[in-house]
C-alpha cells in the first residue's frame, strides 16, 4: 500500500506544462453561472430586498410609505396573527404526515413491485399536473360537497362522529372544515412526496434486501433496518417539498375552508391585496420564511441525512 502512495512525486516536474490550458478555462464556470445568477438577482434578491425594506416602512397609502426602521410591525403582526401561524404549521404538518403515509407504500410499490406497469403508474402520479392547480382544488369542493356521496358515506360509517369530536369536521359538513383543507393540501402535494421517495427507493440495490434476508431479517425487519433507513434522503426531501409549500399555501384554505380555517397565506394575501397594508404583509412573509427556515434546519440536523450517500 505504502509503495503505491509514493508513486506520484515524479509527476510534479511535468506539472507546470499542464497549466496553460487550465488557465484558459478558469473563467468558464463563472460564465456558465452568469445567466442563472442574473436571473436570481433580478427575480429573487431584488424583490427580497424590496420586501425587507417594505416591512420596516410606515405611512399610509395616501401619504406614501417611508423606511422608518419600524421593527414593531413584526411584533404586532406576530401577536395578532399567531393563531394563523400555528394553524398553518399544524395543517401543513398533518398534510405532510398524510402524504408520507399515502405516498410511501405507493412509491415502494412502484420501485419494487410494479414491474412493467412502472411507467404507467408513474404517469398516473404525475397526471394531475396536467390540470390547473385551481381546477383540481375546485374539484374537491364537489367531491366533499354537503350531502354528496363522500360525506354521505362518511356519515353512515360514523366517521364524521369521530372527526367531529376531534374538531376536524363540523356536524354533517366536511367542506369548510380543517379536514377539507388538510385533504386538499394532501392531495395537491402528494406527487411532491412520491417522486423523491420513489427516486431514493429505486436506487437501493436489491441485493441488500437479499443480504438482510440471508442474515435472518424477516421482511418487516428488512424494511425497518435496511430499506427505510436507506430511503431517508427521499423521506427528508419529500417532506420538505410537501411541508414548505403547504405551510405557505392559501388556495386550499380559500376554496375548501372557512374563516375559521384561515392559514397564514390567506392573511398575507388579504393584507397585500385587500387591506393594502404592505408593511404588515411583508413582515408576515418574513416571519413565515424565518420560521420555516428554522424548522427545516432543525429537521435536517435531527434526521442526520448529511452522511447518507
Amino acid at each position: 500500500m505504502a509503495t503505491l502512495t509514493e508513486a506520484p512525486p515524479p509527476l510534479t516536474p511535468t506539472a507546470p506544462e499542464k497549466k496553460p490550458p487550465r488557465k484558459r478555462g478558469r473563467l468558464t464556470p463563472y460564465w456558465l453561472l452568469l445567466p442563472g445568477i442574473l436571473w436570481l438577482i433580478v427575480f429573487f434578491a431584488l424583490p427580497m430586498i424590496y420586501q425587507a425594506s417594505t416591512s420596516v416602512q410606515t405611512g399610509s397609502l395616501e401619504a406614501g410609505y417611508k423606511v422608518t426602521w419600524h421593527f414593531a410591525t413584526y411584533w404586532d403582526a406576530l401577536s395578532e396573527y399567531w393563531p394563523q401561524f400555528l394553524r398553518s404549521i399544524a395543517y401543513a404538518a398533518s398534510a405532510t404526515v398524510l402524504c408520507l403515509l399515502l405516498g410511501y407504500p405507493l412509491a415502494y410499490l412502484i420501485a419494487f413491485r410494479a414491474g412493467r406497469w412502472k411507467n404507467l403508474v408513474m404517469i398516473l402520479v404525475i397526471a394531475p399536473f396536467f390540470t390547473s392547480f385551481l381546477i383540481r382544488t375546485l374539484a374537491w369542493k364537489t367531491i366533499l360537497a354537503d350531502g354528496g356521496p363522500v360525506v354521505g358515506a362518511l356519515n353512515t360509517l360514523h366517521v364524521l362522529d369521530i372527526t367531529g369530536w376531534l374538531g376536524w369536521t363540523a356536524g354533517d359538513r366536511v367542506l369548510a372544515t380543517p379536514m377539507a383543507v388538510v385533504c386538499g393540501l394532501t392531495y395537491n402535494f402528494l406527487p411532491f412526496m412520491i417522486l423523491p421517495l420513489y427516486t431514493s427507493l429505486e436506487r437501493i440495490d436489491g441485493r441488500l434486501h437479499e443480504a438482510a434476508g440471508d442474515l435472518y431479517a424477516r421482511p418487516w425487519t428488512t424494511f425497518r433496518k435496511v430499506t427505510f433507513p436507506l430511503s431517508m434522503p427521499g423521506v427528508v426531501s419529500g417532506t420538505l417539498l410537501t411541508f414548505i409549500p403547504a405551510a405557505g399555501d392559501y388556495v386550499n384554505a380559500e376554496l375548501l375552508g372557512s374563516t375559521d380555517t384561515r392559514m397564514i397565506g390567506n392573511v398575507i394575501q388579504t393584507q397585500f391585496l385587500r387591506i393594502l397594508d404592505y408593511p404588515t404583509a411583508a413582515a408576515l412573509s418574513f416571519i413565515l420564511m424565518a420560521g420555516i427556515l428554522l424548522m427545516v434546519t432543525v429537521y435536517i440536523r435531527r434526521s442526520g441525512t448529511e452522511d447518507l450517500v
Binding site: 440495490d205 441485493r207 437479499e210 443480504a211 440471508d214 442474515l215 435472518y216 450517500v309
Partner: protein
C-alpha cells in the same frame, strides 16, 4: 468440529430451475460433505449461481429438494436457513458502519451482547481498526473481508460464496484465496464457492464440480479433473488440452493402441471415458506440459515406449518460466507444448522439424462425438 458430524452436509436431489422456457439448471444431484471446500466452476450463465441461490433460499427450485444435514429446507425462506452468503460485490449495508454490518445477523437473532464476538471476528479478518468506518471508506479487499466476517459470525452450517473475489485485482485475489482457505480450515465450516476462475477453484477447493449449460459435467478433486477429464468441455475449460482425433486399432493388455495421422498412440484403457470398439473414433488428449520436444535430428535418442508425433514449430513464445510452442503436425494443426526453461535447445525455433513425445500414462481418451472445442471460448474470458 467433529469430522463425523453430518449436520453441515448439503444434499441437493433432483434440483432444477426453469425460467419460462429457459432451463437454468437441469435436474441435479449433489452432495457436499460437512467441512469441505466445494467449488462450483463454470462460465457465466452455466447455472452455478442459480444453484447457489437455491441453497441460500433466494431462488425457489422448480423441482427437487435441498437438505442441510437431516433437515429439508426447500420450503424455508432465507431468514430461517442456517446458511449465510458472501454476495458478489459484497452487498454491505451502506448506512451501517463495519461493526454494525458484522453484528447484523447476531442482532436479528436477538443476541444482546455482540461486542466481544464482533471484535473477535473483525480481528480474524484483520479489520479491528476499521470498526467504525462506513463500507465505502474501505478498499475492495477490506470490503470483501467484511462480507466474509458478516456471514461467518453467525456460525452457519454452510457458507455460500458467490464469486466473492471477482471484483478484486489479480494480486489481491491470489492473497484472498489463501486467506479464505486459511479461514475455512480454521473454522471448519462447509464452504460452497461459485467461481468462473478455474485456477481459483483448483487452488482453494477440495472438490470441484464443473458446470456447463445447467449440468454438472464432472465432479472430483482438482487433480482428478485436471489429469483425467471426462469431457472435452472439462479438458478445455480447466487449463489447456491437446485433443487429437484417432481411430481404435487394437487392445494390448490394459492399453489401447490407436491410429492417428499414420502413427500409433497408446492410451491406458482406464483413462478412456469413451467406448473403445475396434475401428471406433476417440479423441486422444494430452496436456501441453506433459509433452517433451526433441529436434528431428535427435529422434533416435527418444526412449522406447513413448507416444510420438512429428511436427514443425509454427510459433514459440518465451514467457520466462517456460516457453510455449505451437506445433503444426499431421495429426493436429495446432498442438500446444509448454517446455520448462531448464536447458534450452537453440535449434528449437519456428520452422524447425521436431518430434513430440510423452509418457502414455499421461494420455486420456474422450468420446469423439463431442464438440472438440467445447469450453475453449469461455476460458478466454
Amino acid at each position: 468440529m467433529k469430522t463425523t458430524d453430518s449436520s453441515g452436509d448439503v444434499r441437493l436431489s433432483g434440483i432444477s430451475k426453469t425460467y419460462g422456457s429457459f432451463t437454468a439448471v437441469h435436474p441435479l444431484d449433489l452432495t457436499v460433505p460437512q467441512g469441505s471446500f466445494f467449488a462450483l466452476l463454470g462460465a457465466s450463465g452455466c447455472g452455478k449461481t442459480t444453484t447457489l441461490r437455491m441453497i441460500a433460499g433466494l431462488e425457489e427450485p422448480t423441482t427437487g429438494t435441498v437438505r442441510l444435514g437431516d433437515q429439508d429446507v426447500t420450503a424455508l425462506p432465507p431468514y430461517k436457513r442456517p446458511v449465510n452468503t458472501v454476495f458478489q460485490s459484497y452487498a454491505l449495508f451502506p448506512h451501517l458502519d463495519i461493526f454494525e454490518n458484522v453484528a447484523f445477523g447476531l442482532r436479528r437473532r436477538g443476541i444482546k451482547s455482540v461486542k466481544k464476538q464482533v471484535e473477535d471476528m473483525l480481528e480474524l479478518v484483520q479489520l479491528g481498526e476499521q470498526a467504525r468506518k462506513k463500507p465505502h471508506q474501505l478498499s475492495g479487499g477490506q470490503q470483501q473481508r467484511v462480507a466474509v466476517a458478516r456471514a461467518l459470525i453467525n456460525h452457519p452450517k454452510v457458507l455460500l460464496l458467490d464469486e466473492p473475489l471477482g471484483a478484486l485485482d489479480l494480486k489481491l485475489r491470489r492473497q484472498m484465496q489463501l486467506e479464505l482457505k486459511r479461514i475455512q480450515t480454521e473454522v471448519g465450516i462447509t464452504f460452497v464457492h461459485v467461481t468462473h476462475d478455474q485456477e481459483e477453484a483448483m487452488t482453494m477447493a477440495d472438490t470441484v464440480a464443473v458446470m456447463n449449460a445447467g449440468r454438472v459435467e464432472q465432479l472430483g478433486a482438482p487433480t482428478d479433473l485436471y489429469e483425467n477429464p471426462q469431457t472435452t468441455f472439462v479438458a478445455n475449460f480447466l487449463g489447456t488440452s491437446n485433443l487429437i482425433e484417432a481411430e481404435v486399432d487394437t487392445k494390448s493388455g490394459d492399453d489401447i493402441v490407436l491410429k492417428a495421422g499414420g502413427g500409433k498412440l497408446v492410451l491406458p484403457e482406464a483413462r478412456c471415458s469413451a467406448p473403445t470398439t475396434a475401428g471406433g473414433r476417440v479423441l486422444v488428449g494430452v496436456r501441453p506440459e506433459k509433452i517433451s520436444l526433441t529436434h528431428a535430428d535427435d529422434a533416435g535418442e527418444i526412449p522406447e515406449g513413448r507416444n510420438r508425433v512429428t511436427g514443425r514449430i509454427a510459433d514459440a513464445s518465451f514467457i520466462g518460466v517456460s516457453t510455449q510452442y505451437v506445433i503444426d503436425s499431421p495429426v493436429c494443426d495446432e498442438l500446444a507444448v509448454y517446455v520448462q526453461n531448464v536447458e534450452r535447445d537453440g535449434r528449437l525455433v519456428p520452422g524447425a522439424e521436431v518430434v513430440l513425445h510423452w509418457n502414455p500414462a499421461h494420455t486420456f481418451g474422450l468420446d469423439a462425438t463431442q464438440d472438440i472445442d467445447a469450453g475453449i471460448e469461455e476460458e478466454a474470458v
